[in-house]
């Protein structure tokens, strides 16, 4: 297999084109690797080790003080991005902002329950509860298809 990498400064995002005779197992493996790479973000563990984190496995992103953390079912990672940066990108991956400091993966929500003050709370796949602020309830409803997006 030949691999060519060309730098093009005018591209807005990286493009990958695969030219093959047929879609055999090798091509499928390359496709899978590319898919994983595009669904990955670098996360820093508590001990400082850097590790790629699959975005689809992240339950939610939370801003705590000046850091952003990504929580998976059994671990959490510090992400060197702001929630604002992440938000546009994550919307395509079925994430939605539920408070000033939290963006949740809608696929990771098990159920919804009422909370005081016209808020909601969400039960996640790891058994954790997180709260949807009153101002973001409509965004959550839009995310799960209960309301039309404005």
């Amino acid at each position: 297999m030949k691999i060519f990498v060309k730098d093009k400064m005018n591209l807005s995002e990286t493009e990958v084109e695969i030219r093959c005779k047929e879609r055999d197992t090798e091509v499928e493996a390359v496709l899978e690797s590319i898919k994983i790479a595009s669904d990955t973000i670098m996360g820093e563990k508590e001990n400082g080790d850097m590790e790629p984190v699959r975005i689809s496995r992240v339950l939610y992103f939370e801003a705590v003080d000046r850091n952003v953390f990504a929580y998976t079912v059994d671990d959490f990672f510090r992400v060197r991005r702001t929630l604002y940066d992440l938000e546009d990108y994550l919307i395509q991956k079925y994430f939605v902002r539920i408070s000033k400091s939290t963006i949740v993966n809608l696929k990771a929500v098990k159920s919804v329950a009422p909370e005081d003050g016209r808020r909601l709370k969400l039960l996640l796949r790891n058994g954790e509860w997180i709260v949807v602020s009153r101002n973001y309830v409509n965004d959550f409803k839009t995310g799960i298809g209960m309301k039309e997006a404005k």
Binding site: E62, A113, W129, K141
Partner: protein
């Protein structure tokens, strides 16, 4: 994760609520006292201030308690029913000390009776409120179920 910034926000918010309640309380007490033409002892203002300060501290604890996973896993009426008697006790102590400070004798048993009645109505209202909200979230759970059928978490695993 409870951060320092979040704790600061909780303290700010709780004491802002207490400050608003204090100013409204002073206003209503002032109106009430002027209506009946009673002179208010200056020490009562300090008592009211202390009462609202304690309510502010209680609100900080309540907000921190709300943040625990145990509290989040329970329906909201449980937290409200747990904390309301504490708020009521502080308010009652404050009211009794003000009224006694004015030299007025009041029936303690009557006050306890009114408090118990208040708590019963408050509890019933909490249940009604919860079941109204629950009906709304049941619809959201249906929508979520449809969403999950199209975009399953398991297939990502």
């Amino acid at each position: 994760m409870m951060s320092g910034e979040r704790f600061k926000n909780i303290v700010k918010k709780s004491f802002s609520i207490a400050a608003i309640c204090f100013s409204m309380g002073i206003l209503f007490i002032g109106i009430g006292f002027s209506f009946f033409g009673i002179y208010m002892e200056p020490v009562n203002i300090i008592r009211i201030w202390i009462g609202f300060f304690i309510l502010g501290v209680l609100t900080v604890f309540r907000s921190m308690f709300d943040y625990t996973q145990w509290a989040r896993s329970k329906p909201f009426y449980i937290k409200n029913i747990l904390f309301m008697p504490l708020y009521l006790i502080v308010a009652l102590i404050m009211a009794i000390s003000i009224v006694r400070g004015q030299g007025v004798d009041m029936s303690l048993s009557l006050m306890i009776l009114y408090s118990v009645l208040f708590l019963i109505f408050f509890t019933i209202r909490q249940f009604i409120e919860y079941f109204i909200q629950k009906a709304k979230t049941d619809k959201m759970n249906d929508a979520l179920e449809l969403f999950q059928k199209e975009h399953s978490w398991d297939e990502e695993e």
